[in-house]
Symmetry: C2
């Protein structure tokens, strides 16, 4: 109890910090940092303004004439507020949150709103707790929306089943902003009590609820919104986006690794609609992060597509901050966080400096920062999520007639390609299986897949949406077993095997979906594994792992494979 | 404990209501109310849209095709969201909150943000509590900002002295939005700890802090904002407003009884600035409410001045709601409150119907509604705020040399008009006094005033900013005593006396500043008293009571009268 701060003590502590800030703002004391002679984007008036920007105690204290302990001359540069990603699953980067932060800082990202949906499907509330701890005090502020759909469907065998009471106490966490994308929009619209009570509980905590409802319109959209859902990041055409915006939803324009919606929606970046628009990525895979960037990539692309740069900047910072009630960021204004992106100009858009809370975090290289401390038991638990006995070819030897999932190049939807009862490489009929890995149930769902192209060996991955069991495709049942065993040995990841030999692999020991390694190393291993998969015959135009990772998600038509076999998503019947 | 609702019980109750709303929105059940064939203002897209608007459980559930238990055909009409006054002191209407609601409903007001600064100066926290109780469940939603400056200055002898701890528990009240106008901007900028800790405490509760800083600019404005103040309603010229808007303040464009700033600021109502602008009145006196209206008057005037009608509507509802985080109102959108204003068209702007939470409250006449229940002890306390012994002419017989306050026609500032030691009606030198009335201290400050014009009798009022002691001006000391005694007898109000006879009076027995009577009656009594004051000689161009009510406010230059004598506001010295 000795270190429990009283209310009076807390007010006094904050008062003293505030008095310093006021003294610096008023010019009575020197600032910690001053960006001298700065042209900066004013998101309030939609102009470029010019002033010295002073920072103290990590906060902007004023724009005017200031001197500081540290000063940077901004002549010829342009200062922007730090960028905000309104919706991402951090796990999609395949690296730890610290490593993610290191990857996005050079791109000007200073706040992200993450939905730890993937890890929650593996570790339940411990997964949420792990991510909260692993993001504490990072130089990218990581805010959370609580996963709303774990498991994604009742057909999934996930690592957890989270009802409204399971996540309730997290709403008191200072970095939790609300309830993440309510993917079960059908349940919401139909008045499924277990779905709606999650929304009701979030509202009882005065929190935001994000939406996910591609193409929903008319009275169904009314019902979804009346339930309490005021954002959408699934719009891929302008008509859908405008219908939702008119109805009162905020539009998160998504441009990530899997979905590219900016081009279709860029015309929203105009005065009539801008207030309701922000940017998000949803997912960012390693190569995409390394090669394209993050929110800066979206801003650059928007400008290239003809958007007014200041509108694009507003969508990249201010509007997301306001939507999430993060009213101390997303603008250059007294009292706001000292989060800055310094670029050369809008045309070239080279990011030269990035500051987080007044601290220089990037100037051509990312500054060192500490990894957050995670409780030992949580760290141990995160690294021990596979409960699967060693498998042999016999476990995959099944010879019954099973459905054949027909892959569609460039899409994640699939076709019903009939039945098969054995592997036939010459006809491109491969065996596919999903191995339940959370609770050692020995559930192994077996089916066939056409279009993947593998000629020999097997490919296995524990990134398998949304329940992250192990999915494996093989031209040989022995190699399927070898690949899965190696995934388990690595405590998760991606493995490419031929004749029992591992040709390529990415170890993802954090919950089976994230690496402890550096992003560059993960990317290199991933690219190598991918090349090996192609060597084994995987068809051109197919991402050997990402495509596979959606084959066990029984909400995408037509056929999917689960731990209980092949299911027709349309009829919801196993075939 | 039996009626204490469990968390599960609360969620279940909200769930059942929500399921009904969803069912109506989806079209599975009939709506409670449908506005059929409505053209309505869409504040999200800045358009006029067309649909049936359905309401259930007091909330809008959808815009589309709906049928309802009650239906109104909106053909040829225009439906707007209910209006929001972003800043008002309800007490300025001189009537009870219930009566205020009855007065503004015909003008389309469905939410007001009040600062109970006046009653708090009389009754302290009991005054805040009184107003909270007296506004519970009114058909105009009354939200509160907690008074930040009671007393207004250390020179005031108010009924209370409220530090941050005194008001702290009110932040938990569901209708308290934050800390009201921080008038002591000098204290904030100078780092006065007692001022800044009020701001810090409001922030610790995640609440808004309103500003009040006419003309503040440069580093002082930076300091004021860095302290935590993000709105201003004191802008009277465009340059001041733009400077504050650029810095990051929200601008409350004020058009009330005392201040008329719309004309100067109307050009803010354009796409570049609109997101940061809203409307407020600050004060609305009875005749102004009855003759001009409320927020509707501002909208009409803005349109007449050339503003885009949809921009004006956004400022009149949506923008204030967003600023105050009242995210369930200020737009026509599923899940939002069923608060509607139905007008004929933008040009004539006749309000035909007003709905609050889906309930018809005005259709040419205001519908009956109950007065909120106020605790007996609070009601008794509110009606017993005068603690002054009976006075006689001897109490005002002072013959020392005293400062003469020189009135300036049409202004509330005053001049230093020298000294006097007796009443001299022929030279327009009248005696003025302030009688402390909260604690029976017998403090009576005496001075002289020039320019008021009274030839005989006396005028007294207990509306005397901000501490609401009794202020009296007289051509006769006996009439001064008689007028004050009558104010006390009436438990507050305004009295005009000649030769001991009451010629006109307004009884204001609620804290000495509000009436229990109907607005129309109060206005009639007030207009009569005013006429009587003019009969006694009060100069043309002077409001006999309002002008007087500012003469004891020792923050307005040059000379003022307090309970301790005449003070020079510039030098802060008694003269």
């Amino acid at each position: 109890m000795a270190n429990q701060e009283s209310y009076a003590g807390k007010i006094n502590r904050k008062l003293n910090k505030k008095l310093r800030i006021i003294a610096v703002a008023a010019g009575r004391e020197k600032a910690d940092l001053v960006l001298k002679n700065a042209d900066y984007v004013n998101v309030f008036s939609g102009e470029i303004c010019h002033a010295d920007i002073a920072v103290a105690e990590g906060l902007i204290v004023g724009m005017g004439q200031y001197s500081g302990t540290v000063e940077y001359d901004m002549t010829g540069k342009l200062v922007l507020p730090g960028f905000v990603d309104a919706h991402i699953h951090l796990e999609s980067s395949l690296v730890s949150p610290k490593e993610f932060a290191r990857a996005v800082l050079p791109h000007g990202t200073t706040t992200v709103i993450t939905d730890p949906h993937e890890i929650a499907n593996v570790m339940g509330t411990d997964g949420i707790e792990y991510m909260l701890q692993a993001t504490e005090d990072l130089p990218v502020d990581v805010r959370f929306m609580l996963p709303s759909c774990v498991p994604a469907t009742p057909l999934d065998e996930a690592g957890a089943n989270l009802d409204y009471r399971a996540i309730d106490s997290f709403y008191d966490h200072p970095r939790v902003q609300g309830l993440a994308e309510m993917m079960n929009f059908v349940g919401a619209v139909n008045g499924d009590a277990q779905v709606v009570e999650k929304i009701v509980a979030a509202q009882a905590h005065h929190k935001k609820i994000d939406g996910h409802a591609p193409g929903l319109s008319g009275n169904a959209l009314n019902a979804y919104m009346a339930a309490g859902v005021y954002s959408d990041h699934e719009c891929s055409d302008l008509e859908d986006a405008l219908a939702k915006l008119r109805m009162g939803q905020f539009i998160m324009i998504r441009e990530g690794t899997a979905a590219h919606n900016l081009e279709a929606l860029v015309s929203l970046l105009q005065p009539q609609y801008i207030e309701r628009c922000m940017f998000c990525t949803d997912d960012k895979h390693p190569s995409d992060l390394l090669e394209k960037g993050h929110i800066d990539y979206i801003v650059k692309k928007a400008i290239r597509l003809g958007a007014d740069p200041i509108m694009a900047i507003k969508a990249a910072c201010h509007n997301a901050a306001r939507y999430f009630l993060l009213n101390n960021r997303g603008a250059i204004s007294p009292g706001y966080l000292g989060d800055f992106v310094v670029i050369d100009n809008f045309e070239d858009f080279n990011i030269e400096l990035v500051f987080k809370k007044g601290r220089l975090m990037y100037d051509g290289e990312v500054k060192e920062f500490d990894a957050p401390q995670v409780d030992d038991y949580l760290s141990a638990r995160a690294h021990d999520t596979f409960h699967v006995d060693t498998l042999t070819a016999a476990d995959f030897a099944d010879r019954r007639m099973r459905g054949v999932i027909g892959m569609v190049p460039g899409e994640i939807v699939s076709e019903d390609a009939g039945y098969a009862d054995h592997i036939d490489v010459s006809a491109d009929i491969l065996k596919i299986a999903v191995i339940e890995r959370h609770k050692n149930t020995r559930h192994i769902g077996i089916g066939y897949i056409k279009g993947y192209g593998l000629k020999r060996g097997a490919v296995a991955t524990s990134i398998s949406h949304d329940s992250h069991n192990i999915i494996v495709v093989g031209a040989s049942e022995a190699d399927m077993a070898a690949a899965v065993n190696r995934v388990v040995e690595n405590r998760g990841g991606i493995v490419v095997v031929e004749e029992g030999t591992v040709l390529g692999e990415v170890a993802l020991p954090i919950a089976g979906i994230m690496s402890d390694d550096r992003l560059e190393n993960v990317n290199e291993a991933l690219e190598n594994a991918k090349a090996q998969a192609f060597t084994l015959g995987v068809s051109e135009g197919i991402d050997p792992f990402m495509t596979l990772s959606f084959m066990a998600l029984p909400v995408i038509p037509t056929l999917r494979i689960t731990t209980r076999g092949v299911i027709d998503v349309i009829t919801q019947q196993y075939i």
